[in-house]
Symmetry: C2
Subunit: 457 residues, 2 copies
């Protein structure tokens, strides 16, 4: 049996025990006779053509077994702890196009599960386990509003199916990361940090935004083995920095970067399914103006306040307000705001300046599951309704913290100058926070790094 | 009105007249009262998450109007030649996430169509045109077996819908490229040629295959403005070169390249929707062995024979045999085959050595439409059944020619050494062939380029 998987020399070896431990944690939450059945992802064609998107596996499926190929099913018998994979039975002539087809024995070796069969055998095999019920996955993704992919196969109507039990259990397990998962996240955050640093060294006025995106993608893939990024790269310069999800097809990172502009680059690699999510904001020419410094340091003070305050037991909506208070104080000190900070919050000034929640969970999904599970605090009323969670922090949670300052009419001299966001990937430890992100963050660090790159560790 | 669209300084300006001319050609084939309705692509989420694939437009939709955003409809009234776009009506608060939302007037300016409305107005607007019938798109893609995306909107059941007339007409129009389209294809093939050259200079034993893929992607995007490639990069070294569609998720370009191996890299950029499709085969260390040279030159002789013979009027299945004969002759001369070449073809030796068709049409799709339209020669019987077309060549057709040599048991010393493919993107001109591909092709050119890169133009 292979003990691990990697993208080759120089990239992280992901131990198969990562997935085995996830399965063990899941089995412990279930009763004998409750057979878990998950369906993996299918490939997607570009419309009616024979070209496919590069396959990406569904996240719950990755969590349970790490399978990187399409068309599979997974089953887990909590009574025996035995794991089952079911793979497509492909015609032998596919070898000409796809290379040597994996056998069931190959799959057993590659993915380290107990039993492997073909998909057309799933009904027969599951019947042999005499399940009280098949547990399938069904529940809402509270970030997208979409529903989890529920397993369906020929013959499933002959079983008793329970699609309510599994979802809250497996989603909650995904919220708390194991040491093995944390190692993978440290790796992908390190690769993504390094890629951001390459981008900072490359950026200069005159380039087009997507040229910076390309540098990021190349570093993540060529150096770190990340074939995918975790979301569409957001590479905003100048006023585009104020658009939270800039970079989509209607605004595809095509503006030339101008002298004097700030860049706001929000990009994260993906390794073995696990996501990084990092935002760097810096001046295109490597030198902050006084105004840029004022705004940047207001956001940085919000980030610092949260890193200082976050630890097991604190509530996420409190952290959001900790960030807001620090930002408002800083802007008041800088002469951009007047009055009492608590009054500003009552008046909703913080929501104008930061129109999104502080952060979100991070894991196999960039906006990871578990924000609003049953038994957790519900979505708060406005102005906190955009928070992606209101939960209490616990060790093993992963959060990228996010802070941003919008300058609307309030401060005319900033009008159209964009935004600042600082986004770190942090882990809640027993005593506080581990910041896994390793990029220049203070004004002095950024200016020094962009002038003399090699000096920054 | 914008006269053109590009990815910014240094990239090709694509004139909006390209799409206007396509519409004009289409209108001329139809009768007044036949209102064309096309539906553009939708974005696709990663399963239930809020992350989306970077949007790619459907090819017929691109052909007709060049729209790069999701959720739109297009209509053409051949009676008046008027073109209509229908765009989604988005809530104003989306601006925080997406940036300034395009108005209908913006769309008119950006895409150069006559009228722009919101999608929720489509039924009302089309009724005002008093159509005899709405022509929708429905027909088979003969490479994938899938069916074209047919327009559906609320209220379409109140119209007479004809889904048979449009498909063969628009598919045939896509087969013959206009001068404007050929300019775009020359550009994307040039960018992709340059990217292949960068890869050749970068490649050496010890690298992992995907590191070469990353170099290709970065050059296409950063230098050429190609955010997408036209198909998953195939980066096979050694025995992987024998797998036609290597590079998929089950075999993701992760083998370290060994000393003495051949590389077979099949990669093509995409610009404004138009595809390149180029394969380069070369020794990882820059120097062919005698055996590698023998196989490579057999394939090169097949490519040369086709470029020599191809011109308007020739049949594609004849070209396939021209390539096969040249390859077999060369291998016979090299001592790998015995007997009469025509006898070998009768015995199917060519099909063993080249298990795929010679090439395919190229355009908005990498395997472009029109291979087996009504009125064209049908798919030939085996051994030519894998040809993607059997048509007569005409000026304005685009073909990447493909040649490959497999070494099975027949020639033991080549067993496991992979394959060779040479794939050029050529245009059928009035008198012959224009090869748009610009990469080192002969053994001497490749060895010289890999040793002294800068000298090759």
């Amino acid at each position: 049996m292979a003990a691990s998987w990697s993208m080759g020399p120089g990239t992280l070896e992901v131990p198969l025990s990562l997935f085995a431990k996830n399965r063990k944690r899941l089995a412990e939450k279930l009763k004998p006779g409750q057979i878990v059945v998950l369906q993996g992802g299918e490939s997607i064609n570009h419309y009616d053509t024979d070209v496919e998107y590069v396959f990406r596996q569904e996240s719950y499926f990755t969590w349970a077994c790490g399978v990187r190929e399409e068309g599979c099913f997974f089953a887990l018998d909590p009574g025996t702890s035995a794991s089952y994979l079911f793979k497509p039975r492909l015609p032998a002539e596919y070898e000409v196009w796809m290379g040597k087809l994996h056998t069931c024995d190959d799959f057993k070796r590659i993915y380290g599960v107990d039993h492997v069969y073909y998909v057309d055998e799933i009904s027969k095999v599951l019947k042999g386990l005499h399940p009280d019920a098949l547990l399938t996955l069904s529940g809402p993704n509270t970030d997208s509003g979409l529903t989890a992919k529920e397993a369906v196969f020929e013959g499933i109507d002959e079983f008793k199916v329970d699609n309510e039990t599994l979802f809250p259990i497996i989603a909650e397990l995904r919220v708390i990361k194991t040491p093995e998962e944390i190692d993978v996240m440290r790796y992908v955050v390190k690769v993504s940090s390094d890629a951001h640093k390459q981008v900072m060294l490359f950026t200069k006025p005159g380039l087009i935004e997507y040229q910076c995106e390309s540098i990021f993608l190349d570093h993540c893939y060529r150096v770190g083995g990340c074939r995918h990024v975790s979301y569409t790269c957001i590479c905003g310069s100048g006023h585009n920095g104020a658009t939270l999800h800039y970079g989509h097809a209607g605004a595809p990172n095509t503006k030339p970067i101008q002298q004097g502009e700030m860049c706001l680059f929000d990009m994260g690699g993906n390794y073995a399914g696990y996501a990084a999510d990092i935002t760097c904001s810096f001046p295109a020419n490597g030198k902050f103006t006084d105004d840029q410094k004022l705004i940047y340091e207001a956001v940085l003070s919000a980030r610092d306040a949260v890193i200082e305050a976050a630890k097991p037991g604190v509530m996420w909506d409190e952290m959001h307000l900790v960030a807001n208070r620090a930002m408002l104080e800083h802007l008041k000190k800088g002469g951009l705001l007047n009055g009492d900070v608590e009054d500003m919050i009552k008046a909703g000034v913080n929501g104008v300046l930061q129109p999104h929640g502080l952060g979100h969970f991070l894991g196999l999904d960039v906006h990871d599951v578990g924000g609003y599970l049953p038994g957790c605090p519900p979505r708060p009323a406005p102005p906190l309704s955009r928070l992606r969670t209101a939960r209490q922090l616990l060790p093993g949670m992963n959060n990228p913290e996010q802070s941003r300052f919008f300058n609307w009419e309030a401060v005319e001299r900033f009008h159209g100058s964009g935004g600042v966001r600082i986004e770190d990937d942090v882990l809640i430890t027993d005593s506080g926070v581990e910041n896994m992100t390793q990029v220049p963050r203070t004004v002095a660090e950024i200016e020094d790094f962009m002038a003399n790159g090699a000096n920054f560790k």
